[in-house]
């Protein structure tokens, strides 16, 4: 992962240096007249983006992108990106909008613009409906067995916040969820929204425990710095999709659950 990120950064830098005159991101007017909206999607990040049986990219991000395209009355052209490509693709104008769980951060906000958030990411606990736990701190006991995926940030979270719990580590999410479902652990502490795709294969009823003090990351749609009319349109469109339930329904369709940390909707932005 680390190496890939670096390759991505170096490649991104190389793109920046090699481009003689930087390709400009398309303005709203250009998008409307070209009738094409170019959206960056990560096809290796289910349920946001993944390849279908027919090798088409599908997922939450794809549905949102297509909805935005139809609201604008333009065709959506998807470009495939990996996580490290996201910001360079916006800067070099290879994509008008960028998806793929793009978290709003001050560092990124210096070089790209963000829309209103469309999704949250924060650590919560997934447990069986029958389990006695009520709050996150209930899991901090020596008789609690947690299942985690090796090398993920929730492992550090558990070390700091739930040090008394026993932890069993697995190499991937399907194995971790299977072990949890088979009763090898009491809970999985993770961004549990992403586990819905796996838990829906099992009959047991599950429940999510949110952490009152969670640091919530807001994921937004990225666009080129200073592309103001497009951003203004995008925010109005996202507000509309939030209030008419499209975002929530699409979320449930792909994640198999409602957002653990929902975004409060406000008409002021």
């Amino acid at each position: 992962m680390g190496a890939l990120t670096w390759i991505g950064r170096v490649a991104g830098l190389a793109c920046l240096l090699a481009a003689p005159g930087l390709a400009q991101a398309h303005s709203l007017d250009e998008i409307l007249s070209a009738k094409t909206l170019v959206v960056g999607i990560n096809p290796n990040l289910p349920p946001l983006g993944s390849f279908s049986d027919t090798n088409q990219v599908q997922g939450f991000d794809v549905d949102i992108a297509n909805k935005l395209g139809s609201m604008l009355g333009v065709k959506v052209q998807l470009v495939q990106v990996n996580s490290a490509d996201r910001v360079p693709f916006l800067i070099t104008g290879k994509a008008d909008l960028m998806m793929g769980a793009l978290t709003r951060t001050p560092a990124r906000a210096q070089v790209i613009d963000f829309s209103l958030p469309i999704q949250t990411e924060a650590i919560s606990a997934l447990t069986k409906d029958s389990a006695p736990f009520k709050t996150m701190q209930d899991l901090n006991a020596s008789n609690v067995k947690l299942i985690e995926v090796r090398g993920t940030t929730p492992v550090d979270y558990v070390k700091q916040n739930l040090p008394k719990a026993q932890v069993t580590l697995f190499d991937n999410y399907p194995d971790a969820v299977r072990a949890f479902e088979q009763g090898r652990g009491d809970a999985i502490v993770d961004v549990t929204d992403y586990l819905g795709t796996y838990t829906k294969q099992y009959p047991a009823k599950t429940r999510v425990i949110a952490d009152k003090n969670a640091e919530v990351d807001y994921d937004a749609i990225g666009l080129a710095f200073g592309n103001e009319p497009l951003k203004a349109w995008l925010n109005v469109a996202i507000y509309e999709l939030e209030t008419d339930g499209f975002l929530n329904d699409t979320y449930k369709k792909w994640f198999g659950m409602a957002p653990v940390y929902p975004i409060p909707t406000t008409p002021y932005f």
């Binding site: 069993t168 697995f170 072990a179």
Partner: protein, 224 residues
């Protein structure tokens, strides 16, 4: 771009890695012993047991030597719970490795048993040895003298094979290496250290097995 090695960064984890080494060693030793007991039993059945039992052992050996060990443990670990049988990670890996080792060891020991000459057994009988004495003083020394290199080889393969236990939540040497790697990202330093630890384990095991062979079975095997 050049990479600077910093072994100092993983030095604090050395006791943690050595603890993992102990778990690897426990897994390999226990499954080897279990596999030897089962394997010897099966080898005798294969050679002189009832034809139906012999056929069953053949099927067992064919099944366990022709499917990957990882898949076998996977079935024990993730498949059996659906039938209400839930083994702990360590137990599941140990059972899987023992069953797998038993299949390979059956074949090794059977081949070894085949080299015991009928004249040797006749001589033992002539000397008035009972079956147990014959086994202890004639068959086993001959068997181990012939099979020792193959057995040592199998044991080393099994020791290295314990690395797959990390997939099932057993924090042995490789699993711990992955854990450290996910926090320090010092992959080269960690995995070269782990490789050395594996060499140490297998080296010691080779010597010990050779000594056991010499002492217990008077097998003339070179210690190094």
């Amino acid at each position: 771009m050049h990479y600077v090695l910093h072994y100092g960064q993983i030095a604090p984890y050395l006791p943690y890695l050595i603890g993992g080494m102990a778990i690897s060693l426990a897994l390999s030793v226990l499954s080897f012993i279990g596999g030897m007991v089962l394997g010897l039993f099966f080898a005798v059945i294969r050679n002189e047991g009832h034809p139906i039992l012999s056929r069953l052992v053949r099927i067992y050996v064919a099944f366990f030597t022709n499917t990957p060990q990882l898949v076998q443990i996977y079935v024990i670990y993730f498949g059996l719970p659906d039938f209400g049988i839930l083994f702990s990670p360590f137990a599941a890996v140990l059972i899987g490795m023992t069953l797998n080792a038993a299949a390979y060891l059956t074949e090794i020991l059977r081949a070894g048993l085949g080299t015991v000459h009928a004249q040797e057994l006749d001589a033992a009988e002539t000397l008035g040895m009972n079956r147990l004495q014959t086994l202890r003083h004639v068959t086993l020394p001959h068997l181990f003298r012939v099979a020792m290199p193959a057995l040592t080889n199998q044991y080393i393969l099994m020791t290295l094979g314990t690395s797959m236990a990390s997939i099932f939540g057993v924090e042995e040497l490789t699993g711990r290496a992955f854990n450290i790697n996910s926090t320090t990202f010092r992959s080269i330093e960690i995995f070269t250290t782990v490789a050395v630890l594996y060499v140490v384990v297998t080296f010691i095991a080779t010597i010990l097995l050779a000594l056991v062979g010499r002492w217990a079975f008077r097998a003339r095997v070179p210690v190094l």
